[in-house]
């Protein structure tokens, strides 16, 4: 009995430490994000030296106005929307169609077809041969080079197949007895039932494409086709602020300050859409992970 009491006292201590640690983890997660958000409105040097300021002179939307005035970030923003939308439609359609076919029990040659897909998960030709294929197809410097090579995801096919296998078989059989063709069954029965999986796959596809820069970096030449992430890369990593953004004759120190502000506000502009939206889709992200874990 004594040890039980000891245990429960020790446990309560542990639970308290656990809570404190979790609060600490939440702070670590949030502080960098809030710092950038604050820095996009509060002059960075003030933020750095004072942490915060109530002086309205220190607050500015300069970073944002310069971004909107220059246009390269906005063009990147719209390019990204275009690429991510096309990529999502394409990759989700492909995965749903293939996943459905592979979920049908009596499909002949199912095993070899599955192996054909799975093999690419373990072994790939690599960067250079893929680049040469894209080049020889004449896709360089087109939107298709960004979208097509990654549009097929074996993982998504497996997710879709797993989902379709879980649907009740009776529905299909009843429809077949009524004389529906395979195509009609897919269109009228399967697709309406698969909204959750379509939604999950679409979310992941859109976010993946929105945040990607690699394909665009190696396949695109023309700056006007750059997606947002590539523009961000030149601003944030290469510290190349477009002279158009700082057109007026500014002193060196002032220029540095402005380019710093542009960094903060472009981060906010690029990340805010997803950060504002994801809480509404929390359920679907969790569902996506769980469908995947079933294999």
């Amino acid at each position: 009995m004594n040890s039980l009491m000891n245990n429960s006292r020790k446990d309560r201590m542990l639970l308290l430490i656990n809570k404190v640690l979790l609060i600490f983890i939440i702070l670590i997660t949030l502080v960098p994000l809030l710092y950038v958000l604050l820095g996009s409105f509060l002059q960075p040097d003030i933020l750095l030296t004072q942490g915060f300021s109530l002086n309205p002179d220190h607050w500015t939307v300069d970073g944002y106005t310069r971004i909107f005035a220059d246009g390269s970030i906005m063009r990147g923003f719209f390019n990204s929307i275009l690429y991510a939308t096309c990529f999502t439609i394409l990759s989700v359609s492909i995965a749903i169609l293939a996943g459905y076919s592979l979920s049908v029990d009596n499909l002949a040659l199912k095993k070899p077809i599955m192996f054909f897909f799975l093999f690419t998960m373990f072994f790939s030709g690599g960067l250079i041969p893929t680049y040469l294929v894209v080049r020889s197809l004449g896709l360089l410097d087109t939107m298709w080079a960004v979208i097509l090579p990654g549009a097929l995801s074996v993982w998504n096919i497996i997710l879709a197949r797993t989902y379709f296998k879980g649907l009740p078989k009776e529905l299909k059989e009843a429809a077949r007895i009524d004389g529906a063709s395979d195509f009609m069954i897919f269109l009228k029965i399967i697709v309406p039932l698969s909204k959750p999986i379509i939604f999950v796959l679409a979310l992941y596809a859109f976010i993946g494409q929105w945040n990607a820069y690699f394909e665009a970096m190696i396949y695109l030449e023309d700056q006007s086709k750059y997606p947002l992430q590539l523009i961000l890369r030149s601003i944030l990593i290469q510290s190349e602020v477009n002279p158009g953004m700082i057109s007026d004759q500014l002193a060196m120190a002032e220029m540095q300050r402005v380019s710093e502000m542009i960094k903060y506000s472009s981060i906010v502009l690029a990340s805010l859409p997803l950060l504002v939206m994801y809480p509404f889709f929390q359920k679907y992200f969790e569902k996506g992970v769980m469908v995947g874990s079933l294999k």
Partner: protein, 327 residues
């Protein structure tokens, strides 16, 4: 004897007939199946075409690793050189450094990045109120949705010699520390920023697995005098074991496939001694310097090690995990 023989002969006869008929019938059925399901094969067509074009053709293209590829002569017209490119990679002065960098970066990333989501899930699992748990999870997911470019950009901002981290550190030191140009700091920056970004989201799967544990199990154990840590060890961890096994194989199998994207962004000319890994090297030699064959050879070397690694890890985990592996 005779009486028994006759029926057995009949049986043999009839079975012969069945066998004789079976072959064409089976073929017929396959054809009929494909005919009936033709729409399903049409559904598969886009996926198959993309797989061939963007996966199998490049696999075939890896033969340029054994040739001196020139774009004018094409893949077939280029001359064979055997293993020359592999040998020159293995003998190049930076081979060992790049290989070690790759292995170190990804195995440290695995050793630190793999257990943290599990610990986090166990911590979240202790919270009684479901609502609080959900909200905390929601906050912890946030960094997952930020792009790798933005994360890297934030690291450059925060860790710059005039950035906020250094201005905090000046309380203790006089000299600002230049994080991004110190090779010794590169791996820590890479790995811990990865933890910051990914641990919350990666814990989803473990939290879900833990929520399937029957609470009565915990109550009964508490009644029997089990402490919190004992319950975690004997109830929670065994629940997580199958998920851990699968995820570990996937992660460990991908050690050599460590991503190009973030390493390339965090590279500066100063931290290259630690930050140059195989994938960034392939990109620079291949696409920036135009050394296609050599870069393909390096990439192929990497891919082969990766396959071997995946199957080795799978084999080991299978042995340790009562025969449950991935493949």
């Amino acid at each position: 004897m005779e009486n028994k023989d006759i029926p057995s002969k009949n049986v043999a006869n009839s079975s012969y007939k069945v066998k004789h008929n079976k072959q064409p019938q089976h073929k017929h059925r396959l054809k009929k199946n494909m005919g009936n399901n033709y729409i399903l094969y049409i559904f598969l067509l886009p996926a198959i075409i993309l797989t061939i074009v963007f996966h199998y053709v490049p696999m075939y293209g890896t033969i340029i690793a054994f040739k001196d590829f020139s774009p004018i002569k094409g893949i077939w017209g280029s001359e064979w050189v055997g293993f020359e490119h592999f040998v020159s990679f293995l003998q190049s002065p930076n081979f060992l450094q790049i290989l070690i960098n790759t292995i170190k970066l990804s195995s440290f990333d695995l050793l630190i990045g793999f257990p943290i989501p599990i610990v986090l899930a166990l911590m979240l699992n202790q919270l009684r109120r479901a609502k609080a748990k959900k909200n905390i999870q929601l906050i912890l997911y946030a960094p997952h949705f930020i792009s790798v470019v933005v994360i890297s950009g934030m690291l450059f901002i925060f860790l710059s010699p005039t950035g906020p981290v250094n201005s905090l550190m000046t309380i203790f030191t006089d000299e600002p520390y230049s994080f991004m140009s110190d090779p010794d700091a590169f791996r820590s920056i890479y790995i811990w920023s990865g933890v910051w970004q990914g641990a919350g989201f990666a814990s989803i799967i473990y939290v879900a697995a833990l929520s399937n544990v029957d609470p009565q199990l915990h109550d009964a154990a508490t009644m029997d005098g089990a402490s919190l840590l004992q319950r975690i060890r004997h109830i929670d961890l065994p629940t997580l074991k199958p998920v851990m096994a699968v995820l570990f194989i996937l992660a460990a199998g991908g050690i050599m496939a460590i991503g190009f994207e973030k390493a390339y962004l965090l590279q500066t000319s100063m931290n290259l001694p630690a930050s140059e890994i195989i994938s960034t090297y392939v990109y620079k030699r291949g696409l920036q310097a135009g050394d296609y064959s050599f870069a393909t050879a390096v990439g192929l070397f990497n891919a082969v090690i990766n396959v071997i690694l995946l199957f080795t890890v799978n084999y080991v985990v299978k042995k340790l995990n009562d025969g449950e592996g991935l493949v």
